[in-house]
């Protein structure tokens, strides 16, 4: 209400009147854990002194914000540019506490600064409403995936497009068996907290099973100790499942180094010495991608690579026989298992993709006609 009262006499100051809206507010910062307070202000634009006939426009020099400490002293918090209209204080703010602020506005036309005080209590919120669009998208995508998983479990026939890179696994294992050479599986330089590494390891499970079935040798050099123990467990289970536990040799899954280029040097050495018949690079790869794949190409191995790193994909496409691009890496395990519920989740992903395509087209059209509603709705602050 007060905001709308333009040019109303509000404040008497050293014989001069200031005109216009003036307020200073302290509010708890929304959607946070109670560690920030927002400060807003609106200042008068004119001043009228006893000696002047007409109100004079105010030119502010600077704003100073002060915060009261536990002893009641005012401590300078920040000096701000006069064009600023708000400030967020996140300096030593704890939830549930009361904070007092003082705002000083200095102007050429005023002998003393305009002074305002405000206080508020900070709170931790139970829902970050700024992430509502993200929640909607997650619910939509998860809903689609779960729907198709349930549909697949009920026996609904689902069409999944052919992924050549995964169809080639049998060919690669067969080739290794025929040549009597090992298969090299590289899970990348990511640790177990990287979903790409987990996706790579789920494929390792299928590959190890096939390798055990065809009596092919499998080498898995890793760069992270956590990946080492997981990969060993996965391969061991796969050999057990294939009924050949005696063929499992844990020394074939070994740790090289955590260092990126040391790892590359180690694997390049293995490729040159052992001459694997097939190489699989599935996981997280950065600058080492091309060094690995190009060396493998030089040895004449059949190569399959997969990563979600867009910058490394061109290198894999050029040097490998088959490349799993982006989502194909994550789809691999489900695709290879042929289990209906896993395939259902792939179908759900496709529906999610359709939803995103619709949103993109709709967003482009709405932006062209000047309606920013969808963009605003889906923009995370």
């Amino acid at each position: 209400m007060r905001r709308n009262l333009i040019f109303v006499f509000l404040f008497l100051f050293e014989g001069s009147f200031v005109w216009g809206v003036q307020e200073f507010k302290a509010k708890d910062h929304p959607s946070d854990n109670g560690t920030a307070i927002d400060l807003f202000w609106q200042l008068p634009r004119y001043v009228k002194t006893a000696s002047q006939q007409e109100p004079v426009l105010l030119h502010y020099n600077s704003f100073v914000i002060e915060k009261q400490d536990s002893l009641g002293n005012w401590i300078k918090l920040k000096e701000l540019h006069p064009e600023q209209t708000h400030y967020t204080d996140s300096d030593n703010i704890a939830p549930g506490q009361n904070f007092n602020y003082r705002f000083l506005a200095y102007a050429h036309e005023l002998k003393q600064p305009l002074t305002f005080e405000a206080q508020t209590v900070s709170f931790a919120q139970w829902f970050d409403y700024k992430k509502t669009p993200l929640l909607i998208m997650i619910v939509l995508l998860c809903g689609a995936v779960i729907y198709y998983i349930l549909a697949a479990k009920k026996g609904r026939d689902l069409f999944i497009r052919k992924i050549n890179g995964l169809e080639s696994m049998d060919e690669a294992v067969g080739r290794a068996t025929e040549k009597g050479k090992p298969i090299l599986f590289v899970p990348g330089i990511g640790d177990l907290d990287d979903i790409q590494t987990i996706a790579g390891l789920t494929i390792l499970s299928q590959l190890a099973y096939k390798a055990a079935t065809y009596n092919a040798d499998l080498l898995v050099p890793v760069s992270k100790s956590m990946v080492l123990s997981t990969a060993r467990e996965i391969v061991k289970e796969a050999y057990l499942k294939a009924g050949k536990p005696d063929m499992y040799n844990q020394d074939k899954i070994f740790y090289l180094t955590d260092d990126q280029f040391g790892y590359v040097a180690g694997i390049d050495g293995i490729m040159i010495r052992e001459q694997p018949a097939a190489n699989f690079f599935l996981g997280t790869f950065y600058a080492e991608a091309l060094i690995l794949a190009e060396t493998g190409f030089g040895t004449g191995a059949m190569q399959t690579a997969g990563t979600a790193q867009p910058h490394q994909l061109p290198f894999f496409v050029v040097t490998c026989d088959y490349t799993l691009i982006g989502e194909e890496l994550f789809a691999a395990s489900a695709y290879l298992s042929k289990a209906p519920d896993q395939l259902g989740s792939l179908k759900g992903q496709d529906l999610g993709k359709l939803v995103i395509v619709v949103f993109i087209i709709l967003g482009v059209v709405l932006e062209i006609v000047g309606i920013p509603w969808l963009k605003t709705l889906l923009t995370l602050e």
């Binding site: 970050d128 499970s205 100790s225 020394d251 060396t295 050029v318 982006g326 298992s337 759900g348 992903q349």
Partner: protein, 232 residues
């Protein structure tokens, strides 16, 4: 039981982590940080497993005198020397068992670990990284060999981008009037990088994000179990 308990833990932790993304209130706002710390602690212990594997595999090869066994021995010795230097004289500001090694610092100019790190390890690492330049050249040559319409397009785009990023490329079209600015090579290169290239990369990123959602859901719901060692 061997699978049920881990699956239950995975589901519960996954649910909590997803919830914590939307709940800024205590204790949810500390959960992600806490779990990341747990991961770091477990990783630190797991390093021992990696080192044991390294020693076992390499010493086995040295013992059996496999072909090129000398390299495995060099690897083991390098590993041992670095570990010893770190333990005895420490790294950076941290003291080792034998103090700071002031005499060695006076001789090498820095702690033995730091000396080996900056004078051997870093150079070896840079050498490996430098190989990338040659590999890019050979891979690019193969990619640009004209075999089809698509590879023609690829080669054309690559030539334009490469020329547009060099001073020669800039001078080649610099004589064109300002009205023809859009055909200046640097501008065409920028257009290719900013629009077609960016669009393709974003498409890959969106599809990868969807794949991550699907993959995570399969793991959370216990449909995908191969990361636990098997499917049953």
């Amino acid at each position: 039981m061997k699978k049920t308990v881990p699956l239950g833990i995975t589901f519960l932790v996954g649910l909590i982590v997803i919830s914590s993304e939307f709940i800024p209130h205590k204790p949810f706002n500390y959960i992600n940080e806490g779990l990341e710390n747990w991961f770091l602690i477990i990783s630190s212990f797991a390093i021992i497993l990696g080192q044991l594997s390294l020693i076992k595999v390499n010493s086995g090869k040295v013992k059996e005198k496999v072909e090129n066994w000398q390299y495995y021995l060099v690897g083991l010795i390098s590993f041992g020397v670095m570990v010893l230097c770190g333990i005895l004289w420490g790294t950076e500001d941290a003291k080792g068992l034998a103090g700071n090694g002031d005499k060695l610092i006076a001789f090498f100019g820095q702690k033995p670990f730091e000396y080996l790190f900056s004078n051997i390890y870093q150079h070896l690492s840079s050498t490996m990284f430098a190989l990338l330049a040659f590999f890019i050249a050979s891979a690019a040559y193969r990619a640009f060999i004209i075999r089809s319409f698509e590879s023609n397009l690829l080669m054309l785009a690559a030539v334009v981008v490469m020329l547009g990023r060099t001073s020669i490329g800039t001078s080649l079209t610099a004589w064109l009037p300002q009205g023809w600015r859009w055909v200046h090579l640097p501008n065409i290169a920028d257009f290719i990088m900013n629009y077609p290239n960016n669009a393709a990369q974003r498409a890959i990123m969106i599809s990868a994000a969807l794949g991550i959602v699907g993959s995570s859901l399969r793991i959370l719901l216990g449909i995908e179990r191969s990361y636990l060692g098997g499917g049953d």
